[in-house]
């Protein structure tokens, strides 16, 4: 295959600016699929993605485009996740590309993630060209947005294709722009193999399927490949490229190409995203730059609702980890919840997605505990502990001081909401660093915020206080000493370990009070009265009471409709099964999770 005729590119955009729709149109109009075969969104092939309208996993698709110059071009479109939680995956996807299409909404203009993604793309030396989407909207202002792109980002935008991906307007212009503006890949097919893993997938028949971009050299069936970071070796069984939704085998993959490799790799941890694949017999001199072991930022306990499903949960996590290099986990035990895992995630969205995938794809019922971050506990004996589970906090007498992770956050917000967003950051112990006006109506607020203040419901609060206009990006800055305490929850005077969490002492009272209120609503009445208390070091700071149950009877029975009554009782019985016994109190599993979302504003 002639390298000149290959275009490896991705589409970057702020969420909802139309990335997936444009991808669909490109795939459709390059003739690989007929309209009939098109599902609504071809690239997002996980159900969950379709429902949430976001792209979680990087994926690639190869299509053939016959350009106006009469030549056929191979387009490798590599999809990237759009959320800040997935920055590392984005960066690996970008590294596999030579160019990027920047999609900007003709009505909304540049948003925070537009910028974040453009900078990321430029960091990877991609040629970025803009496309103005949604020009069919009544509120579209393409020229204003073009000017904005030139002013704010500094990209040439006057000749940007004006399109409506939804209505299929202007797609041809985009395809031509890909041919002319995305550079052909470089690389020597004869050099030692050097390929970047930008994604991988576990298939129960083929084993691990590596998604990679060949930078140098050639790989084919029979090559013994080596993963340079993990050191794993395997013989290639098959190589190929990506049809829409299917794998199409081919003879070899050479420099400049994007495709997949299977090699009967069974161990899911061997193929880390960002790692370099080389030929074990003829290795390249150096791995590709940029590989890093992904660091989890948010931790929580994940338990099977049914204790007997513990091995299933373990297997599911192991499999998910393959598709998700950023997920890590280790076994732990809770008095209230039994055997489970402490899992690390990139952020809260990542956590929610994994939780949903476990529930849907692996049919597991889960209980998760309050998410926390990694605290550094400096003990009086000089030892430093990295604390991911509040239950493991040493006795206060042994603690010299504690540190918590701080992030630098950038919040892009329209000027009318500056006040309320600043107030929010203040409540979350934010340190104001400054503000820049991007243009008259938009400002970028810079704050330093403790990570543990943003992992709960910060996104929700941000959205509701800006009517959805604010967007948010953050980077881990480092650790700072902080006055932290462990807040314990006692139900019927018994401490429930799975509900303990670490909190700043100034917000402990408020948090404890809200936890108690929430739990009061969640815990069903029992035959006896149940006190719910929040305590710090044995001192109770808040209390609520669940009154004893007095009435639970279906007075009327519907004209012999026993089935209806039975269904009611079955539901009630099902509810009882979903309870966790702590002492003699049954706590619904829902309660463990509901306390994560303590409504900010009443």
């Amino acid at each position: 295959m002639n390298q000149d005729k290959i275009r490896n590119f991705c589409i970057i955009a702020h969420i909802d600016h139309g990335k997936s729709t444009l991808a669909d149109r490109i795939i459709e109009q390059t003739g690989l699929l007929t309209s009939r075969e098109m599902q609504a969104q071809v690239l997002d092939n996980m159900d969950l993605e379709r429902e949430r309208g976001i792209t979680i996993k990087s994926q690639a698709v190869r299509t053939v485009y016959k350009a106006k110059d009469g030549e056929e071009y191979i387009f490798n479109l590599i999809d990237t996740p759009g959320h800040v939680d997935f920055n590392y995956e984005v960066s690996r996807s970008l590294a596999a590309c030579d160019g990027a299409i920047l999609v900007v909404d003709a009505a909304q203009g540049i948003e925070a993630q537009t910028l974040a993604n453009v900078y990321l793309a430029l960091d990877h030396n991609l040629d970025v060209f803009p496309v103005i989407n949604k020009i069919d909207l009544p509120s579209a202002e393409p020229q204003r947005v073009i000017d904005e792109i030139e002013d704010v980002i500094g990209l040439e935008a006057q000749d940007a294709p004006l399109i409506s991906a939804k209505n299929g307007i202007g797609i041809e212009d985009v395809l031509e722009a890909i041919v002319h503006k995305v550079p052909a890949p470089a690389g020597d097919s004869g050099a030692p193999l050097q390929a970047l893993i930008f994604d991988s997938l576990y298939d129960s028949y083929k084993g691990v399927i590596i998604f990679c971009r060949i930078m140098q050299g050639t790989v084919k069936k029979g090559t013994t490949i080596k993963m340079m970071a993990t050191g794993a070796c395997a013989e290639v069984v098959e190589v190929g490229y990506f049809g829409a939704g299917q794998f199409i085998a081919c003879d070899n993959l050479s420099a400049g190409m994007v495709g997949y490799i299977t090699a009967s790799i069974k161990n899911v941890k061997d193929t880390a995203v960002g790692d370099t694949v080389t030929d074990a017999a003829n290795p390249c001199a150096e791995p590709l730059p940029g590989y890093k072991k992904v660091r989890s930022m948010v931790y929580c306990g994940v338990y099977p609702a049914d204790g007997a499903k513990y091995p299933d949960l373990r297997d599911a996590l192991e499999k998910l980890q393959l598709n998700d290099a950023a997920l890590n986990y280790e076994p732990e035990t809770s008095i209230a919840l039994g055997f489970g895992f402490r899992c690390g995630f990139l952020g809260l969205l990542h956590l929610e997605i994994i939780q949903e995938r476990l529930e849907r794809e692996y049919n597991l019922d889960l209980v998760t505990t309050a998410p926390g971050v990694i605290y550094k506990v400096h003990k009086t004996n000089g030892e430093v502990i990295e604390l991911t589970n509040p239950s493991n906090l040493p006795d206060p007498a042994e603690i010299e001081y504690m540190e918590e992770p701080i992030v630098s956050a950038e919040i892009m917000v329209t000027t009318e909401f500056i006040g309320s967003i600043m107030e929010l950051c203040q409540e979350r112990r934010g340190r104001y660093l400054g503000m820049e006006y991007m243009e008259e109506t938009r400002a970028l607020l810079k704050y330093e915020l403790p990570l543990n203040e943003i992992i709960y419901d910060f996104f929700d609060a941000l959205k509701s206080r800006s009517r959805g206009y604010a967007s948010f990006d953050y980077d881990l800055k480092g650790y700072e000493e902080s006055a932290l305490v462990k807040l314990d929850i006692l139900i019927n005077r018994e401490e429930v370990d799975a509900l303990s969490f670490i909190v700043h002492k100034d917000t402990a009272y408020e948090r404890g009070r809200r936890m108690c209120e929430k739990l009061k609503d969640e815990i069903p009445r029992h035959l006896f009265e149940i006190p719910i208390q929040a305590a710090i070091g044995g001192k109770v700071i808040a209390r609520e009471t669940v009154k004893a149950m007095r009435k639970d009877v279906l007075a009327k029975c519907y004209g012999g409709d026993i089935t209806r009554k039975k269904k009611l009782l079955e539901k009630q019985k099902e509810g009882k099964k979903r309870m966790r016994q702590v002492g003699n109190v049954e706590i619904p599993q829902q309660a463990f999770m509901s306390v994560l979302k303590l409504d900010d504003r009443k």
């Binding site: 007095r550 009877v553 012999g560 026993i562 009782l569 019985k573």
Partner: protein
């Protein structure tokens, strides 16, 4: 010998739907009623028992809706049809629900004449303001008239439906309602706490409901006042003078077979439960269509024996359970029984297992432990 059957006939017509009601019913003119009755007759006609002999029936219940909104001759037609298809006992219990707003002397006389021997009058409250709040179409005065006519027509078995925990209802007003009704002396009283159901107008409204404590006191008041007046509580919400327990309803709790005719009517026959479609228009067009037919497993039957039987004040009989299933209740439900005896919700006396007074208040909590699922089968 096989037990006799019960028959339920659903008549889904009202002058106006009450605001709390979630039964299948609605307004309809006489034409619609006529078409409906024709479909009903077809449904009854097309029922084929598996014997050459007519199936024996000892109770019939016309429920609704408001059966009394139909012209009496239509009820007569249905009853005649039933008597031609089934062998209805001479001394069978034949009940009809009536609304005081749609009954008159002629209708009641006609009912009595055609062989109906039990009336169930939907009164709910003796306060017109409370009745208006419920969206009822009648006054207390109208009820008193109907009650008088019913006695004159020769009804010696009358039920009065009452409700507590109504919006705006006070303990005092409810107590007065109980006193007035017991003074009249119907043979049977059904007393329910209002349940606000989703999908009803009440479900959407801001209601001034009595608080929990008041609601409980009303409930206890019902029990005490009715007991003093000589009514025995034989089921969670049903009270009767000796010998006047509703045989039809008792059938539901004791596993007796019954056939339901009409839209949304439920049946239990030959080990199967089913229900007709609950869309009245669909019934009018296509006639009865069975939905959710379920063949009861042994476990289902054991569960039902317990959770239905426990609705009755006398509870369930271990001996009858053994006769039916070849096992003792303890061997199947031992853990639940023991636990609820320990926490004072169930009581054992000789052969009987029954809900205590507290257990009755928490009946669902107890009964749900008698549902058998895959894990404990």
């Amino acid at each position: 010998m096989q037990d006799k059957l019960s028959i339920y006939v659903h008549l889904p017509f009202c002058v106006r739907k009450c605001l709390y009601c979630d039964f299948v019913s609605g307004v309809g003119n006489e034409n619609t009623m006529g078409s409906y009755v024709n479909k009903l007759l077809d449904e009854i006609d097309s029922f084929i028992g598996d014997k050459d002999e007519k199936l024996k029936v000892d109770t019939i219940f016309f429920g609704g809706g408001t059966p009394s909104v139909l012209p009496a001759f239509m009820i007569d037609k249905i009853l005649c049809k039933l008597k031609s298809v089934f062998a209805v006992d001479e001394d069978g219990e034949i009940s009809i629900e009536v609304n005081p707003g749609t009954s008159d002397k002629e209708k009641l006389d006609a009912y009595r004449k055609m062989g109906i021997n039990r009336l169930s009058i939907g009164l709910q409250s003796t306060w017109d303001e409370e009745l208006r709040t419920l969206g009822r179409i009648h006054t207390y005065k109208e009820f008193l008239e109907v009650y008088k006519w019913a006695r004159e027509a020769g009804f010696t078995n009358i039920n009065v439906d009452l409700m507590s925990a109504l919006p705006g209802q006070s303990k005092e007003s409810y107590e007065e309602t109980l006193m007035r009704v017991t003074a009249l002396g119907p043979e049977h009283i059904s007393a329910y706490s209002l349940i606000v159901e989703e999908g009803t107008p009440f479900g959407e409204m801001e209601l001034n409901l009595p608080d929990e404590d008041t609601e409980r006191e009303m409930y206890e008041m019902t029990r005490d006042i009715l007991a003093d007046a000589g009514y025995v509580r034989y089921e969670i919400s049903n009270y009767a003078k000796a010998g006047y327990e509703c045989r039809h309803n008792v059938g539901y709790w004791t596993g007796k077979e019954y056939l339901g005719f009409g839209v949304a009517a439920a049946s239990y026959f030959q080990g199967k439960r089913w229900k007709n479609q609950d869309n009245r228009d669909a019934y009018l067009i296509k006639g009865a269509q069975r939905e959710e037919e379920i063949v009861l497993s042994l476990e289902d039957k054991m569960s039902e024996f317990m959770f239905l039987g426990l609705r009755m004040s006398k509870g369930v009989s271990a001996k009858r359970f053994y006769e039916g299933f070849g096992k003792t209740p303890d061997s199947v439900f031992g853990e639940a029984i023991e636990r609820h005896i320990k926490n004072g919700l169930l009581k054992e006396e000789g052969d009987a297992l029954f809900l205590t007074s507290k257990g009755t208040d928490l009946a669902n909590y107890v009964m749900s432990d008698f549902i058998l699922d895959e894990n404990n089968r």
